[in-house]
């Protein structure tokens, strides 16, 4: 595999966790529920994924555990912010803080180690990859010849969520609830049910993101996970204007910044070498600020995004 194909493949590896988180945000916020707990959910899922894979001795068990914990945390967020109409940001921050503490504790409790878990079976292993041998020599296209299952999942999810949001009745109702829940209610749409559904689905997508961190290219959990990937995911959601395809493009842009940085470290000369590493880490946020202030056409969130909904009377 040549360097170009390798770099593109690596970009997809980097992009997958960000993309999953962004898609989680897209689904949830289109129904008007802000979920900044994406970061915490990814951390939960990354750890439980490894734990599941450790016990079940295969990554599928890890995936199951990770998704279940993601859904469970989603239920917590939904209970606070949908059923109780509590502040969505407060709930999200709380979940992130709790994730920080609990997982550090569980890591030591379960694996008796500090900082990282022992290696477990993971989706990056050769026989879990999707091999498409005949395209491997073709430039660009060859990048798709040896991707992990999770990367493929992330790309398929983009299509599925786009279809759901813009071509199904459910999607129309999700977007209606995010724009004007009172209007939806008067038309007989069950607002609470829709918000619950979107919150849980969003959390499960974020859990996929967490799992692709610990069981995608790596085969263990490190205590620094998810290293802000959840927040970069949120940035990708905004940069992508709250749409699945926008989120995909934004995630690829953000991931390519990391690849460029890796490449430059190896071969850059002259001025490129002078650009500090921090610049590439900050790039997603700089681009997001650009999107919010309207550099690439203004990013406008759903009208009722983040506003708790209470039924009248």
């Amino acid at each position: 595999m040549n360097l170009l194909n390798l770099s593109i493949a690596q970009m997809f590896d980097f992009a997958a966790p960000i993309l999953f988180a962004a898609l989680g945000g897209v689904v949830s916020e289109n129904a008007g529920v802000v979920n900044i707990a994406l970061e915490g959910i990814m951390r939960f899922a990354a750890f439980f994924g490894v734990w599941g894979a450790f016990i079940g001795k295969n990554p599928w068990m890890g995936l199951l555990w990770g998704l279940l914990i993601g859904a469970a945390v989603g239920v917590l967020h939904g209970y606070i912010s949908v059923t109780w109409a509590g502040d969505q940001i407060v709930s999200g921050v709380a979940i992130n803080v709790v994730a920080m503490g609990i997982i550090t504790y569980l890591l030591e409790f379960v694996f008796k180690t500090t900082g990282y878990s022992p290696p477990v079976p993971y989706f990056g292993a050769a026989h879990y990859r999707v091999h498409i041998a005949f395209i491997s020599k073709i430039p660009v296209l060859g990048a798709f010849s040896n991707l992990t299952l999770l990367v493929w999942f992330s790309l398929i999810a983009v299509g599925l969520i786009h279809f759901m949001l813009y071509h199904t009745v459910l999607g129309l109702r999700i977007r209606a609830v995010g724009e004007n829940p009172h209007a939806a209610e008067t038309l007989g749409v069950n607002v609470m049910k829709i918000k619950w559904f979107a919150t849980i689905l969003g959390s499960v997508l974020a859990a996929f993101g967490g799992i692709s961190l610990s069981l995608g290219t790596l085969s263990s959990f490190t205590n620094a996970m998810p290293m802000g990937k959840g927040f970069i995911g949120l940035a990708a959601m905004i940069f992508g204007k709250w749409t699945p395809i926008g989120a995909l493009l934004a995630s690829l842009v953000f991931a390519s910044a990391q690849i460029v940085q890796l490449l430059l470290q190896g071969m850059a000369s002259g001025i490129a070498k002078q650009i500090p590493l921090g610049f590439y880490l900050a790039l997603p946020y700089l681009l997001t600020i650009g999107a919010l202030i309207g550099v690439v056409g203004r990013a406008v969130p759903p009208a009722s995004d983040g506003i708790p909904y209470k039924k009248e009377g």
């Binding site: 071509h167 009745v169 129309l172 209007a183 209610e185 007989g188 009248e312």
Partner: protein, 507 residues
Amino acid sequence: MKALELKGITKQFPRVLANDHINLSIEKGEIFSIVGENGAGKSTLMKIVYGLYTPTSGEIYVFGKKVNMKSPHDAIKLKIGMVHQEFMLIPRFTVTENIVLGDEPRKGIVFDFKRAVKEIREISEKFGLKVDPLEKVANLPVGIQQRVEILKILRRGAEILIFDEPTAVLTPEETEDLFKTLRALKKDGKTILFISHKLKEVMEISDRIAVLRRGKLQGVVKKEETNERELARMMVGREVVLEIPRVKVERGPVVLSVRDLAAKDHRGILKLKGVSFDVHAGEIVAIAGVEGNGQMELVNSLIGFTRPVKGKIILNGEEMKLVTPYNVRRKGMAYIPEDRKRRGLVLPFKIRENIIMGQHTLYPFSKGGILNDKVINQFATKQVEEFDIRPRDIYISAGNLSGGNQQKVILAREMAMKHNFLLASQPTRGLDIGAMEFVYKHLIEEKKKGIAILLISLELSEVLGLADRILVMYEGEIVGETVPEKTNEEELGMMMLGIKRNERLVQ
């Protein structure tokens, strides 16, 4: 046949009894109006009929059958539809999406947009309500948005249509269009419930009228057997002076002078195209016009929310170089805003806070950045008493007051401020008769004190009753100037629509 019957409907909210044993029976195919002051319980009653509120007690019969509604979903199934005061529309969605939401044509789980568009075309044709199914609602004028709302409930097969203050947001022409639609629907055999506090409109459109006051039904009358005066008395509970007494005040020197003022709206479109006028002490100058003809830009320029493109504003003999709300207020301008909830008040703040706002940095309300609670409370208590603000509780938040009382808080604040010019922008918008009367009284008081008043109004009766001079605005220009003694509603109406112009008076 009776379309709707209410028996002993009562709704108790934690602090108020909104509906008190209301009995009504509405015939199929009639236009039945319910009038009452703000807070009389009209909207609550309609929300009960639409299943948004559950009554504390009482029974509802729809087409003779007893029903028990738990949500709007139940009401829709019973063929009851409601056009809400604040439109229930999603601006970013298309007309089609807005209309079919909640009952979408589908193929499996897929939303069948093409069929939906076809359905909207058919239904729009059938009822003669023209809309473009593919247009985004955000791009539509208010009158058409309301049409979308009506189509929405017609598509659900509504037989009983509730209109909650439908004309509050409409221009006179749009209102005329709506009335045509209502009459057509009546002909179709639909039953219409029309909620309003504008008696003139009620007298024009209804067959029968029910009057509510403080949650109680005062009576049901036939249109032919009543008049505006009687309805007003039933609504308010006493004789109301609808005619504004003429007060002559010797006009003083020029206080505000505007020269060739032009301004753009927030989208950058030139809406005010070079207007000039003077306002003298002890004089009320009214700007009449259909909404959106530059009034907003004039107001914004005068208080410093918009920077004019060109022109001069001279207040008390001094040209305002940099117009900011702070500067104009220091120069003696008081302002009654058109949107009291957004511009007039901080809704979560208490009366005592709202009533000193703007003067809160001044002695005696504060000194060295520390608020003097004792002085503030004394002042607030005095003003609440003097302006009859109810409840008499300075610690209640402004958001919990009725519209009339909110306006009184604003009046109490602005009148207390040191000023000799008053900018009153639609000061009676959305108010009921009692509160309107109150505002008129205070405007006349101000005039007697020799204050110069610029009144911006959409109501011709108000303009003709209050003003000493009338300027008519059309498409950002003053197209006519007259005095109330020499004109009438028809002539003003023609000028407002740009059909007729007349010469400016020589000052």
